[in-house]
Symmetry: C2
Subunit: 436 residues, 2 copies
Amino acid sequence: MSEANAPASSQPSSGQPALKPRSRHTLRIALFGFGTVGSSVARILVESQPKGLKLTHIFNRGVARKRVDWVPDSVVWTEDADAVLASGEVDVVVETVGGLDPAGAWVCRALDAGKSVVTANKKLIAFQGVELERLATDKGGHLKYGAAVAGGIPVIPGLEQGLAGDRIERIEGILNGTCNFILSKMEEGADYATVLAEAQKLGYAEADPTEDVGGFDARAKLAILMRLALRVQVDPEEIVPKAITSISSVDFSYARDLSCTIRQVARAQQSNGQVAAAVGPMLVAVRSPLAWSRDTENMVILSGHYGGDVVFSGHGAGGHPTAVAVVSDLLALAHGSRRVEVPSAPARVGAEFEVPHYIRFLVDDRPGIVAEITGALARERINIRAIVQKPGYPQHALPFVVTVEPCKTSALHQALASIGKMDCLLEEPLDLQMLE
Amino acid sequence: MSEANAPASSQPSSGQPALKPRSRHTLRIALFGFGTVGSSVARILVESQPKGLKLTHIFNRGVARKRVDWVPDSVVWTEDADAVLASGEVDVVVETVGGLDPAGAWVCRALDAGKSVVTANKKLIAFQGVELERLATDKGGHLKYGAAVAGGIPVIPGLEQGLAGDRIERIEGILNGTCNFILSKMEEGADYATVLAEAQKLGYAEADPTEDVGGFDARAKLAILMRLALRVQVDPEEIVPKAITSISSVDFSYARDLSCTIRQVARAQQSNGQVAAAVGPMLVAVRSPLAWSRDTENMVILSGHYGGDVVFSGHGAGGHPTAVAVVSDLLALAHGSRRVEVPSAPARVGAEFEVPHYIRFLVDDRPGIVAEITGALARERINIRAIVQKPGYPQHALPFVVTVEPCKTSALHQALASIGKMDCLLEEPLDLQMLE
């Protein structure tokens, strides 16, 4: 980190003076992207006028249609990313464009020029965060991404500052507001297609919702938290997410009978150097904090070796909450606040959770089904906890549920592969982790 | 703040080189107090060996009886506070003694000598925080107190870092673990005296529990949060706390009928420059986050103008959680992390909350009581929401409850003063804010 303090003159390649992080001059801010988050960042900067921060440039494609009258005339609206990145009059680039390309290249070039970058881009940080932080350090700038996970909830500052003295052993999070909106509405009785359409109408879900409902967004955020909390650098693609699309109202009905509800949970743990991680719909006890989270809220539970469980909850997405995190990062830069460096090491996601599971079957009923299923589970040494069959469903499309004692996912999948060959199954069995 | 960066030589009065906060040498730590929190701090430092931190001195009165074998031999155990404070071989004093005297004098002397101080002392920070921070700045040291509010929950780092970009308008907190333990046990049916005795046996309550149950501890923490979140410096004594001792099982029974429970809540808000603050038992909806908090847990809800509500919850007290906050502060110092300066201004607690109230009467029943009470409320223009009287109580000691629509506490107290003259009252009416 000593290079971070090097004078600008030691970086001849940048062609401009690097930001001296400690000087108390006003930071000149170029905002990349004027969508929901970007315009909220501008709104807060203009309304609150935080000391030490000055918005100087707004870059967006087709910028003319973006222009608003509440931004001061002194701000330059531009479509020329290159010019902004090369400008000696910009200290910090705020990147709210999202995605790996071209945002990643812009962030790289800004850092390479010795500028600092504040970004809300979880994908970029999940996949390239380690390299980008190294680049920032080498070039004398800073990279901050408090907005990348759980938007307005200060989980990242909490980890870097208040929990740095602990050893975090476990993370459980509701990290995707779209999925939480969908599942908490389904809990109240809505069906998936209707509530997805509502989420799209409200702007909570994209036209193609795969990134959210497929678990890819939550996976990226989990990978970032794993680095900061568990101190392991993992390839996000080693975590195979399960989509929430397989959940139907019958599952909420059965979950309720088990005093549970269903949430998209991202979880990871480290014990004895073994790292386990999973993202997908899971059963959570109605009395547990994860079930409190409703609508588009996010929640993160960090379990520390010394401090026990800490719960953070609030608005994880949306323009204003995310913008609060961006502006807070900008203020931290302006005040010369340096993050506590959290050393992390590359690791593989190699371990499995050993938890109880909920398995829901949909069958064309005939005698002997339960015997075959329980037999297949027994062969993998999986103990059955309960078999639940609610009345009121037709015999030719009968849903019923088997819950099993804690077992490894791999053993369960082995059993389900064998069960999957049964001719009575109308669809693949749905297996969900049950969090206790 | 520019003095914070002044070279040590500019402080001839200190007689020793001041801590240079940015140099990456190892911080030499003197621990004042080896009680529950102090020994946990030592435990984490010894077990985790965080980079950049080295425990060098342990000060305690009668230190011989404190000595433990798991602390390295290199650590000096001493009863001589003066020698430690004068030592040129100590960079940071960790103060876990508590109280204003003599801890305050030690903290002053450490800061005056250019050392940094990390403290868990809410009383000291609530009453003298502003002056002590100024002293730290003047002398080139730093004062950190992340452990002073809500122990292991990173509320203070969250405020100083992740929420600095917002404008916090409201605080609601469960800030005293002892009261939360007592009230959540009473919710389950225990009576006050029994559960207080249990809390004392478990070490959660002092022999004289006034500081906790009287609301003085929560008040000090609220005053600190008000400075950081609402950015107002208030005299804690302007907030008159209400003790939880007046709550009895009948109140939990009535609260349950109102879909509420009772918690000790510390709350403050600022609107139009008017500051309101209160500490005491209050009715909270069973579905609200405040009701989730059980046992000795703490919870803080911060409502931001831009980001909405953020909830923090976890273990607010206890040796290990509090020690995590202390060690995190030490790491922040070692990494040269500077807090985002939150400008605050002196203010008076002049405004009142306008909220619904729960009023419980205990009367020797006779005709006309309700007419007199409702008449007195009407004269203060207070609207009645409901009158609830549960069966099963004797007529000569009959508890019943009146709930009223939002009104100012002062108007209610006016009405209650007049009601208080009624001969049928067996004790003073109990009025509690109802949080919605």
